[in-house]
Symmetry: C2
Subunit: 185 residues, 2 copies
């Protein structure tokens, strides 16, 4: 972690990493502060809600990170299928980089966080951003608007499920297999 | 909870319900014992590993419950597609019954439980039981063996992901939409 990273960013990326590795409940505020090297006063300055606000910011940060991966995968693709295959391969590499162990802060929030309407609503909002990003590329690559949205939703569903199975198996193969499963032939 | 339910069963179903509702970390042993009306000594008699052993038994119990739903859905179906549609509709009803809020103890274990090899390996084993159950029906209904396994894996992936999106949206529609997404036409 660079010392010159602004405090808020350092808090968010540290929280995202720890929630992903350990889950929401298992990660204490003191651990986040120690790892980020940030005093408690700064935390409440940036996040008056404390851990809950930090968790929502971590989910946003992860969504932005995933949207960059989506854009990188689909931008150079000649068609939707190729873009989807690039995306799944990039996710498989990411899965391997994170030691086949991590979940994403979006799911960690939804599954593990307090069962509040704000958390669930925020997860919905974040998933929708990812669906919109893929649907935009799908439409640009020639799919009719309805079909673009349906394909983007199916891809989000499949990626969430495949990541879970890949974690259980400690094997990214299932992520790479998604294009053949969803768009055979 | 019936008073005549054997102690072990009462512990397992109570733990499964609480882990599903609250997650692994947020559920304390004292809460499980109080809710099940079981003394601490009985817990360690049945589960020497305490909470971790109870979590694995809860995942097994949930798998058996889901396999009964799979059998009920596929047994009367004239073909794989119809069986899958029955299964997705039954899951959508189950989702609504549980107040659109719960996760399953299998995912709760994997995401929220201690990151131990035993937990992850057990999640893999439990997912495989569900895949085998669906693949058995698919083959009985005429799919070639390889295709039956591939379809069963795709369905598990899609159900895991769709349940997550349904929770975020508080809407079971995405579970009902799976047959059209996976086997269009």
């Amino acid at each position: 972690m660079q010392d010159d990273t602004p405090t808020r960013d350092r808090l968010v990326t540290t929280a995202a990493t720890l929630f992903r590795r350990q889950g929401y409940h298992a990660t204490g505020l003191a651990e986040i502060l120690a790892e980020a090297g940030v005093p408690k006063g700064s935390l409440y300055h940036h996040f008056p809600d404390g851990k809950a606000g930090l968790a929502m910011a971590a989910a946003d940060w992860t969504a932005a990170f995933l949207i960059r991966i989506i854009d990188d995968a689909f931008q150079p693709a000649p068609g939707y299928r190729e873009g989807m295959a690039h995306y799944c391969n990039k996710l498989a590499k990411l899965f391997q980089l994170t030691d086949a162990a991590n979940t994403c802060p979006i799911s960690a929030l939804l599954f593990d966080g307090p069962e509040s309407d704000a958390f669930r609503g925020h997860a919905d909002h974040v998933f929708q951003r990812l669906i919109d990003a893929v649907a935009g590329h799908a439409q640009r690559l020639g799919l009719p608007p309805d079909e673009a949205v349906a394909q983007a939703e199916t891809l989000l569903i499949a990626v969430e499920g495949a990541w879970t199975l890949a974690r259980a198996r400690r094997d990214a193969a299932v992520l790479r297999s998604l294009p053949a499963r969803l768009l055979p032939g």
